[in-house]
Amino acid sequence: MQIIDVLKKYPASQTSLLEILLEIDRLKDNHYISKEEVHMISEYLGVRTSHVYSVLTFYTLLSTEPRGKHIIQVCKDIPCYVNDAFDVRKTLEKMLNMSVGQTSRDGLFTLEETACIGCCDEAPAMLIDLEPYTNLTRDKIERILASYREVTL
């Protein structure tokens, strides 16, 4: 689907902005909003690029830089932290051979941190493309990553 088709699905009003951003992000394999897209959105909605950019950079769900096919978000808030027999972030960094904020060489994963994702009762937890994975263990993470790799292959 073209960006313009996405835009046309929404009323040309400021209130559509976040939904449009999220939909474009979902639509693109590299999950980011480009400068051209910011300009197109701002023109369609009749708002300034500064406004689109401000909203876009406010939410950690969204990105102005190309990302991996799958976005892994690790909760960095207290319950996950204290429930943590092991360090989810470090484990992921090791398994993926990269640090938070980076994208794996094969373009498959981007690793990010996020504020609480509401899974405190089943901590530690992470999101992959907004799908929650809870009660994480080292093995479980290994299996989850493998399943994403398989689907892509």
Partner: protein, 571 residues
């Protein structure tokens, strides 16, 4: 009315005040940082925190309404400690090299730190240096000094309806600037400088051109002439420990001579000339079915706004150059001719209340010869004040002297150009008398005076009532422009000034331009007008002589060639 206690003093104030407003009524000082009169309260900085009996945590005085029976403490150790900590944290992320900043001793953050007694910062610097934006002729953005108060965002978005500046990212990574942190000249910025005027620190400032002016003043091979705009003289005194903002023409001329200018002229002269040209153009448009409403063209912030955002209404804008540019052209043509000086040896400096004028002077249309700008460089009121301080000019001791001629004799009408509604009033004084062939009974057009955003008046021209309007601030201007676009504008003539209050509230004026300050500058403006012997542009003898000698008559071919311009759509 309600009763409350502040620092154990009982206060009685009207309903609906914030704690800050109530305290100020009783001369109880609560420090603030992000707060600015006339802008939105966003309680970002939390410097105005106070304790309220029975309420958990500290509350911000700027945003908390005072309630009956409240017991407020503004200076407890807890409050003072919080303020100090906040300020230290701000300073830890601020380029606090104060002596290398133009705002030294005139900076709201510096004064706050001093008043809170911060002699040493407990927090190490976490500043990550970013490059400066130096790419436009008007403004410099130095985000290393930005304290994220949000004032510039508010003024740009809400007062000017431009929305060039915004907050980006969040939490401790939050920054302020244009989208993608691009330079201002990649954005549709008008260079109005309102952001620079409200910035509490030196994070947005005019591009400082004082060095090049000093250099020219010390070069004996160059004739350095200066023109000074009407709004500068009613404000510059504020920066010079003068009893009020107004410095008399006589003292200004003498002080400018002290700095070493060879010739000292008055932009008011070409303001009178503008009235002759623009008034004649208006009459012509009315008589000959030209595009109406006609809109004024002397404000470069407005011209930028129109060219960038509303190019479809460009035909409505008068083709007259601004007074600054008319002066530049006359200096490099008429004056050079008459005095047999090569125009390349004349250096024209303008002193303007405006940062957009710096940009205006660089426009390619404003070059009469050799691709050299007619106005070589523009200084703001603040920069001139800096030069006076550098030279140690004492305004109490200085003598009065008149402006030089041929561009020194002016009228009260011209002085009005500094005020919103002033160009309209000056034009009406002239147009009325020319069309109706009789003197105006009352030459004061009170209805177009004052700080109101949009003002209207009705005038009888040749037996026909015409409606005129005046707007100041670009958000108000947008309203009038949209009427024209919709074909519903009831007006014949519209005056537009980009800055609130007109040039007296320009982006290059002294800091602390609040409505009270604007009112004082307006009062000085109308005072000067009243004091002038001649108060109508078409009665300025020197202007009439200039037409006789060089320009033929208003809107003649020669006048058109020298004094008019054109506009075009820009990105």
């Amino acid at each position: 009315m309600m009763n409350a206690m502040i620092n154990n003093v009982s206060v009685e104030v009207e309903d609906g005040l914030t704690i800050l407003e109530a305290a100020r009524k009783y001369n109880i000082n609560i420090p603030t940082l992000c707060h600015y009169p006339e802008l939105h309260i966003n309680s970002d900085c939390r410097i105005c925190s106070v304790e309220i009996d029975g309420r958990k945590g500290l509350k911000t005085a700027c945003s908390t309404p005072i309630k009956d029976g409240m017991n407020i403490i503004t200076n407890s150790p807890r409050v003072l400690n919080a303020r100090k900590t906040i300020t230290e944290l701000i300073l830890a992320n601020h380029d606090a090299n104060c002596t290398a900043c133009t705002r030294n001793l005139n900076c709201e953050l510096q004064s706050l730190a001093k008043n809170l007694g911060i002699d040493i910062n407990r927090f190490p610097s976490v500043l990550e240096r970013k490059p400066l934006d130096l790419l436009n002729p008007s403004l410099v953005r130095n985000s290393n000094r930005c304290i994220k108060c949000g004032r510039c965002v508010d003024v740009c978005k809400n007062v000017q309806a431009m929305h060039v500046l915004e907050t980006m990212h969040r939490g401790h990574e939050m920054t302020v600037g244009p989208a993608f942190d691009e330079p201002l000249n990649d954005q549709t910025c008008t260079f109005c400088g309102q952001c620079a005027n409200v910035c509490p620190v030196g994070a947005i400032m005019e591009k400082d051109n004082t060095d090049v002016v000093w250099e020219k003043l010390h070069d004996p091979s160059v004739y350095v002439m200066v023109q000074i705009a009407p709004a500068v003289r009613v404000a510059i005194g504020e920066t010079l420990d003068h009893e009020n903002g107004l410095i008399s023409n006589g003292k200004l001329v003498s002080a400018l001579r002290h700095l070493g200018f060879d010739h000292i002229y008055d932009t008011n002269f070409t303001a009178d000339l503008t009235i002759m040209e623009e008034g004649t153009e208006l009459i012509d448009r009315i008589m000959n079915g030209g595009v109406l409403p006609m809109m004024t063209s002397c404000c470069p912030g407005w011209i930028n706004f129109a060219e960038q955002r509303h190019p479809n209404i460009i035909d409505h804008i008068s083709s007259c150059k601004s007074p600054q540019q008319m002066f530049g052209t006359l200096a490099k043509t008429y004056y050079a001719d008459k005095s047999n000086i090569d125009s390349r040896d004349i250096y024209v400096v303008s002193v303007m209340p405006c940062t957009a004028k710096k940009y205006e002077a660089t426009r390619k249309e404003f070059r009469s010869f050799y691709d050299i700008p007619d106005v070589d460089i523009v200084l703001t009121t603040r920069e001139l004040s800096k030069m006076f301080r550098q030279m140690g000019v004492d305004f109490d001791l200085i003598k009065e002297e008149p402006f030089d001629n041929p561009f020194g004799i002016t009228t009260g009408a011209a002085q009005l150009f500094g005020a919103s509604g002033g160009v309209m009033e000056a034009a009406l004084r002239t147009v009325y008398e020319i069309v109706n062939k009789k003197p105006l009974v009352d030459i004061n057009f009170e209805s177009v005076r004052g700080l109101q955003g949009i003002k209207e008046a009705t005038v009888d021209l040749g037996g026909k009532e015409i409606k005129v309007a005046v707007s100041n601030g670009l958000a108000n201007t947008k309203t009038l422009v949209e009427q024209i676009e919709a074909g519903t504008s009831p007006y014949t003539f519209i005056e537009i000034m980009a800055c609130p209050g007109g040039c007296i509230g320009g982006g290059g004026q002294p800091y602390g331009t609040t409505n009270d300050v604007r009112e004082a500058r307006l009062a000085s403006t109308y005072f000067i007008d009243e004091e002038m012997v001649c108060r109508k542009s078409h009665e300025n003898e020197m202007i009439l002589a200039l037409y006789e000698d060089y320009l033929d008559e208003p809107n003649s071919e020669q006048a058109h060639h020298l004094l008019h311009t054109y506009y075009e759509a820009r990105k």
